[in-house]
């Protein structure tokens, strides 16, 4: 496995060019690195700049958390359920 699966939800899902994607990821790196790579694709990805939360393998993490190849990574706005 040399990629990660990325999911977006809610406003991000509607705003970004893709709702989900596979992203090349051959070795461990931080959530912050991954987010920066996505953002570097262009201004269509500017929605990632705001207050965005991240979950790795369905657990909420901070930007310095490590993403392994094969992980499921999700980006989404602050949650509003309940």
């Amino acid at each position: 496995m040399n990629s990660v699966r990325i999911l977006f939800f809610a406003r991000l899902r509607e705003t970004l060019p893709q709702a989900e994607l596979e992203w090349p990821w051959a070795s461990p790196g931080s959530v912050g690195d991954l987010k920066a790579q996505l953002r570097a694709q262009g201004d269509a990805w500017a929605a990632l700049d705001g207050n965005i939360l991240c979950a790795v393998n369905q657990t909420m993490v901070k930007l310095d958390a490590i993403v392994q190849p094969g992980d499921e990574v999700a980006f989404f706005p602050p949650v509003t359920g309940g």
């Binding site: 999911l7 909420m60 949650v79 359920g81």
Partner: protein, 149 residues
């Protein structure tokens, strides 16, 4: 007990009955029902869409139950969160907790709701006469959740 994420409605009567069935140890039962209001931020809301992150939602709710059990003496805990489309007065979320102790039941139920509001991956989109709008997270919810840390 169990946590459930579902589109169909739940019955408060059935959920309460399940909490107290064969339960003579717990003197206190606290429950919360969250319902759709017809007003928010000054606008009339005629519908609501609730999106979630399938898989993670169930995990987040199960974690909430675990954390509550580590902190308080609880008998039964049940958490149900619906997703999909809602109209005014529809039931959205149920949290039911039993305990031998009143204080534990109140604290655990409120803790679960407050923490759910900031950690469980659900998102609301309101339908108003001016169109659809994603609901923004509220500082108050963050502050309420932080009280428990």
């Amino acid at each position: 007990m169990a946590v459930r994420v579902q589109t169909n409605d739940f019955s408060v009567s059935d959920e309460y009955a399940a909490l107290v069935h064969n339960n003579t140890a717990d003197g206190a039962v606290v429950s919360f029902v969250g319902r759709m209001r017809d007003m928010n931020l000054g606008s009339t809301v005629h519908g609501l869409l609730l999106e979630h992150y399938p898989g993670m939602t169930e995990k987040a709710l199960a974690d909430l139950e675990d954390h509550a059990r580590q902190r308080w003496a609880l008998g039964h805990v049940s958490i149900i969160h619906r997703v999909g489309e809602f109209r005014a007065a529809d039931q959205i979320v149920w949290v039911g907790v039993t305990s031998p102790h009143r204080g534990d039941a109140f604290a655990a139920c409120e803790y679960i709701m407050d923490t759910l509001k900031t950690t469980a991956p659900f998102w609301k989109k309101e339908l108003t006469k001016d169109g659809a709008r994603w609901v923004d997270a509220r500082d108050e919810d963050t502050q309420r959740a932080e009280r428990w840390q």
